[in-house]
């Protein structure tokens, strides 16, 4: 018996003797009010900092009163430790090769001058956002609710680039690779592959975020923008697009960012579902930006509850607010100018009329009628993906 096998066997044996508590996964509110770091990262305000290498930064809840998340407060998530710390915009090129009629090396200048320039306001959210809500704790960064943001992205359509290169008829998969690298040569790159059918004209290669160059930590000078999709496919520092006919086996595609392949996308910690599927499009979600947990307000004072809501682009129809633990709900005012992929801001005038602790809840409903479940009704999955429970903040009325 190999040593490792022995270890596994002994773990199994001990578990049998002790008897594991056969509980299903439990879901609660994600961890909130983590403190921002004292140390600011390049082009960023100090944010909640889980790791410096690779950088993992979360936006504090208070950011989510705004329709657009400022660049310096936008969350950061890299997978590989080595990020280029210098990029020369005059020599940077993006290469398109594989099953194309003509290989292309496009400079930033070409992109900005020789293609139609397009803009989209879209939410970027990590698939593991709010992971700390799940128990037992799934592996991965224990995000609160701030691994998300909304920006106006400017760039060119991916389809225009691919048309210029000319796709061969066998073309089926498009692979995207960025400039980040690992410490060891053998470590797989963070390559993503998407099927051509998944890509529409809303997918862009963006060089601008909220009217400025992309911050380095958000993928300067170019990143993929796939409105409606979780951010795992929004490759940063995009430098290489490869067109293929067959899907390549990739760690970040086959193992990470996947949920159980069943209707409820759920499983129990004891009995993991045997097959998985990619997380792809975002579900309906809202986050309260104000008040914060622990905010103290006076009785009969005028409180404006604010937050943001979004889905995968079907559009938010309503955001409902409850101040009586979910017994009754009232509609919040919505910003009706927001695009379908953008944060829709909501506000709700609230005058607290009882003393003590009050739970404020927000629940978004989209145009398909899909609505957020209570946190306790969000079903567990081993990766801690796609949490979208009704957000709750507790305030003190004095």
């Amino acid at each position: 018996m190999q040593r490792r096998d022995f270890l596994k066997a002994s773990i199994a044996a001990s578990a049998a003797i002790i008897g594991t508590s056969a509980s299903a996964g439990v879901t609660t509110q994600p961890i909130d009010n983590r403190e921002v770091s004292k140390i600011a990262f390049p082009e960023k305000k100090p944010l909640i900092t889980y790791s410096d290498r690779p950088p993992l930064l979360e936006s504090p809840r208070s950011v989510f009163t705004q329709a657009i998340t400022p660049n310096d407060e936008f969350f950061v998530r890299w997978h590989l430790p080595e990020i280029p710390t210098h990029i020369d915009p005059n020599t940077y090129t993006i290469k398109i090769d594989g099953l194309v009629n003509q290989e292309l090396n496009i400079t930033l200048n070409d992109l900005k001058n020789n293609f139609e320039q397009v803009e989209v306001v879209a939410v970027l959210q990590c698939g593991g956002n709010s992971r700390s809500a799940f128990n037992p704790t799934p592996g991965g960064v224990q995000w609160g609710s701030g691994a998300m943001g909304c920006a106006k992205w400017k760039g060119v359509r991916l389809s225009d680039l691919l048309n210029q290169a000319g796709l061969k008829k066998e073309a089926h998969w498009i692979g995207f690779n960025g400039q980040d690298t690992a410490a060891y040569y053998e470590t797989p790159n963070f390559v993503r592959e998407l099927e051509i059918e998944e890509l529409d004209d809303h997918v862009i290669v963006a060089y601008e975020m909220n009217g400025e160059d992309l911050p380095y930590l958000n993928g300067y000078p170019l990143r993929l923008v796939i409105p409606g999709y979780y951010s795992d496919s929004w490759v940063k520092m995009l430098s290489h697009i490869t067109v293929t006919d067959k899907y390549k086996s990739l760690f970040f595609m086959d193992i990470a960012y996947r949920v159980p392949n069943n209707e409820t996308e759920s499983e129990t910690p004891e009995e993991k579902f045997p097959t998985t599927k990619p997380i792809t499009v975002m579900n309906v979600k809202s986050v309260i930006g104000y008040p914060l947990n622990g905010t103290t307000v006076y009785l009969n004072s005028h409180v404006v509850i604010r937050g943001v809501a979004f889905d995968d682009g079907h559009g938010i129809k309503d955001v409902l607010i409850s101040v009586d633990d979910g017994q009754t709900w009232e509609k919040a005012e919505l910003d009706n100018k927001a695009g379908r992929y953008a944060f829709k801001t909501f506000r709700f005038a609230y005058k607290p009329s009882t003393y003590g602790k009050i739970n404020i809840m927000a629940k978004a409903v989209n145009r398909l009628g899909k609505e957020q479940p209570f946190a306790k009704d969000v079903l567990w999955n081993h990766g801690g993906y796609k949490y979208n429970g009704i957000d709750v903040v507790q305030i003190h009325v004095i």
Partner: protein, 103 residues
């Protein structure tokens, strides 16, 4: 005439300016990690690729979780960690960042 030519030349080679001058520097954050038996193996192997922050922010986890995590680093990320060091790392992580459950 000379001025005009100069102007055209300037336009033709007009550079793109990054909003950041020079190189960026990602700051080092001194994450406080617990000292104990096996820490040397953690320092020697894990830090090659990621910060201590990435470890301690996984939340308290079972022995099996840490064993699989280390295995993932070796199998998928190709980290050259010996079996001996893997065992030391797993014992350390379970002792200091464990949840008391084997599985």
């Amino acid at each position: 005439m000379i001025q005009k030519i100069t102007l055209i030349t300037t336009l033709a080679v007009s550079a793109l300016f990054a909003q950041v001058k020079d190189d960026i520097a990602v700051p080092y954050i001194p994450y406080e990690i617990k000292m104990g038996k096996g820490f040397d193996a953690v320092q020697a192997n894990c830090l090659m690729c990621h910060s201590f922050g990435y470890i301690i922010n996984q939340g308290p986890q079972s022995k099996e979780f840490w064993v699989k995590k280390t295995e993932k680093m070796v199998v998928h990320f190709k980290a050259p960690i010996s079996q001996e060091d893997q065992d030391k790392i797993n014992d350390y992580l379970y002792k200091y960042y464990g949840n008391g459950e084997l599985k």
